[in-house]
Symmetry: C2
Subunit: 434 residues, 2 copies
């Protein structure tokens, strides 16, 4: 019996007889020769099957419907024209399930509309482009976790159920908890991380967060993943350095370990290769001036919109860090700059090529009195924040962190225009199926 | 300036002057000598400070309140009696925040009631025992992910929002989605993984799942983490082998990399060292006989209760795999055993020492007709399961997987009696604060 291998490994079995288990992705019929293309989840591989040499295999493949499952045995032969550099000379075919002619695979090899593809996301993800994006996503996550672990950060998962909001309540999802009690789905694990950082020093969480954003844009999902580090005795500068290290490690790991997938996406790899530290930095003050020079109506004190971000990030070949925003447009927990208290010791990281904000963070208020004042100014429920205030009553330390939006980062790495492609089952404003 | 190090690293700096940034965990006052104990999140370290040699440091430490934050400089000296084998001869102390005498740290170094500790979970996690458990949790997760990645499994995150239930509706949490539409929080990522397995071959997800279980036991959380692999062209046997490999890798990684934490928990490490493959296996049929021999009222066709599981697992020094349960007590999607169709090709893994079920899985129905019949028999909404049925219409293959309950696994590894200690912020039936 030939050894069972994956298509990914085929190059290492040149000249050998192997068995692949997968699906028929497509096939060209040239009379007495068939040119099937198989996929097995790790990639696609072209085959050739001759009526004369392998009549039984030929009969099994002939007229086999697209996406039918099959187990195929043959010899791996180098072929410079084939994707992956090898093709399979098919000698045996076992059809596992033949898709009925009267009920063909719904996603034909042609263009389909977005709604149709999203409705069939469970099948659409088999397409080489979609599968490549999902493999890149997995690689980027693997790289991100290993980077954080290597930097001495301990994973502490933040809870999904929260009794109150982290930042505002208009975008919160409400859950019927037990006995008609209400709970809310987390929008960020940060507040909880501030507690675990005081217990464990350097920590991070990496899990789903939820935002009921009514804005139906290319950049929004109602459910997405966020990586959030937090470190005791850390400052703004530490987080900007950690952030650029993390992002460049994710990008370079994908470049190194997923070249075939980037090729499938026709991604310009030279643009990704440039993403190494140090990233350019710009004060908020200077960002406003840059926008004005570029004809934008920005004025000091405004938050930046999507178009502003594109203008700012397009100045650079790697992500740009904008720091020290006006405190008035940033979250209540941000530490003021001691030199200029009207500024927050915070930063945003904007991806190049118009992909917008992928990271935001900074130093947190460590004074109990100032934090209590802020909680009151923002009309936040003091009861629900009692535990959070406790962190400043009992052994407060300077501390800082950030949040990295996973899907926006992956969309940029993949060079894909819509964030809905970079998560297996996107949850959108008007879609939670399949 | 002395280099800033973590307590974890102190052993490598013997004889050197170093700076620690952390908190005062406890202190013994012996007149002209103080014996402070510091913690910094990576561990605890004993110090000694002499009035004669370091009067300023002595004054700063004297009467310093428990959990006050401070930055301490001193020389690392070997001391066989000290935890970690070294102590710090303190020369300089900078108090970052002194906790007020009138408002002392709430968790004193004595026994507290469970409700009080849970109410103060944000502080309780600083206790050496709790911090050790959280570090073991992080190590076990790191090991689990790296094991899955090394086995060629691609991470594909399953969604949290689902339009329908995976198994029954009584334990579902309902969410107010957009415009009064309802969504439900996932109880398992499995069904979605079956789709990604058909796209990518071998996949897994690892994220939070939610169960509104009314049973208020030591073993239940409303929100917990589950690792679920799924593989195309895989069978029951493959998953039993993968499952024992995964669990033993998690256990042995903790034993190897977290010995100090296991010591803090007084965990019997010899019991963990025995956890290597192969794990014992037992047919359900034989498990019933074993229970009967041990005086239990079990009869063929019953599901096992917690006490039954304890009887079964206490026969072995490592987890036991019970396989081929009656189909009638297992989920609708389980593939029947072709030899004995009244049995499901499924298994459960029971942890030793009475920790109960930590894993469940098996082979899934691959026939469209059988799955449709099961969906109807279980009165499941056919519309909501259309996409799931599609997986059997279009290129169906044999496939199998399992789910590993993270918190139960960690509780067993830690030897802790309550699952609420093994997650940073436990969500219980009557507790979602802090």
């Amino acid at each position: 019996m030939a050894p069972i291998i994956s298509i990914e490994e085929a190059g290492r079995h040149s000249g050998e007889s192997v068995t692949l288990r997968g699906w028929l992705y497509n096939q060209r019929d040239a009379g007495k020769l068939l040119f099937p293309i198989f996929r097995d989840g790790t990639g696609i591989m072209q085959g050739v099957c001759s009526l004369k040499e392998s009549p039984a295999a030929y009969e099994a493949l002939k007229n086999l419907t697209q996406e039918s499952s099959c187990i195929v045995t043959g010899t791996v032969r180098p072929d410079a024209r084939a994707p992956g550099g090898h093709e399979l000379h098919v000698s045996e075919v076992q059809v596992v399930q033949r898709i009925a002619d009267g009920d063909p695979y719904p996603i034909q090899l042609k263009e389909h509309g977005t709604d149709f593809l999203l409705e069939n996301r469970h099948l659409w993800m088999r397409a080489p482009r979609q599968a490549a994006i999902l493999r890149i996503r997995a690689e980027a996550i693997h790289a991100a976790r290993n980077f954080m672990d290597s930097q001495g950060y301990t994973l502490t998962d933040s809870p999904m159920f929260t009794p109150s909001a982290c930042e505002g309540t208009t975008t919160l999802f409400e859950v019927s908890y037990i006995d008609d009690e209400k709970a809310y789905l987390t929008q960020s694990g940060q507040l909880y991380l501030e507690a675990t950082a005081a217990a464990l020093g350097k920590v991070y969480c990496f899990g789903p967060v939820f935002r009921a954003e009514k804005s139906k844009t290319r950049r929004h999902l109602t459910e997405f993943w966020m990586l959030e580090p937090e470190a005791a005795y850390a400052h703004l500068e530490d987080m900007m350095v950690l952030g650029e290290g993390l992002v460049s490690h994710m990008v370079q790991s994908v470049v190194k370990n997923r070249p075939r997938e980037l090729e499938t996406l026709s991604r310009d790899v030279t643009k990704l290769a440039a993403v190494v530290p140090p990233f350019p930095r710009m004060l908020y003050d200077d960002a406003v001036v840059t926008l004005q020079k570029n004809g934008k109506a920005a004025k000091w004190g405004d938050d930046f919109g999507g178009e502003d971000e594109t203008v700012l990030s397009s100045q650079f070949d790697r992500p740009v860090i904008i720091h020290r925003y006006p405190a008035s447009i940033k979250a209540f927990y941000m530490e003021p700059d001691p030199q200029r208290p009207e500024l927050a010791l915070g930063f945003d990281m904007l991806a190049p090529e118009g992909y917008g904000e992928i990271m935001g963070g900074g130093e947190r208020v460590s004074s109990y009195d100032l934090l209590l004042k802020r909680v009151r100014e923002h009309n936040l429920p003091e009861d629900a924040f009692k535990w959070y205030l406790d962190l400043r009553r009992y052994g407060s330390v300077p501390h800082a962190g950030f949040g990295l939006g996973l899907e926006r980062t992956i969309a940029w790495i993949c060079g894909t225009s819509h964030i809905r492609e970079v998560i297996p089952f996107p949850r959108l404003l008007y879609r939670i199926y399949p």
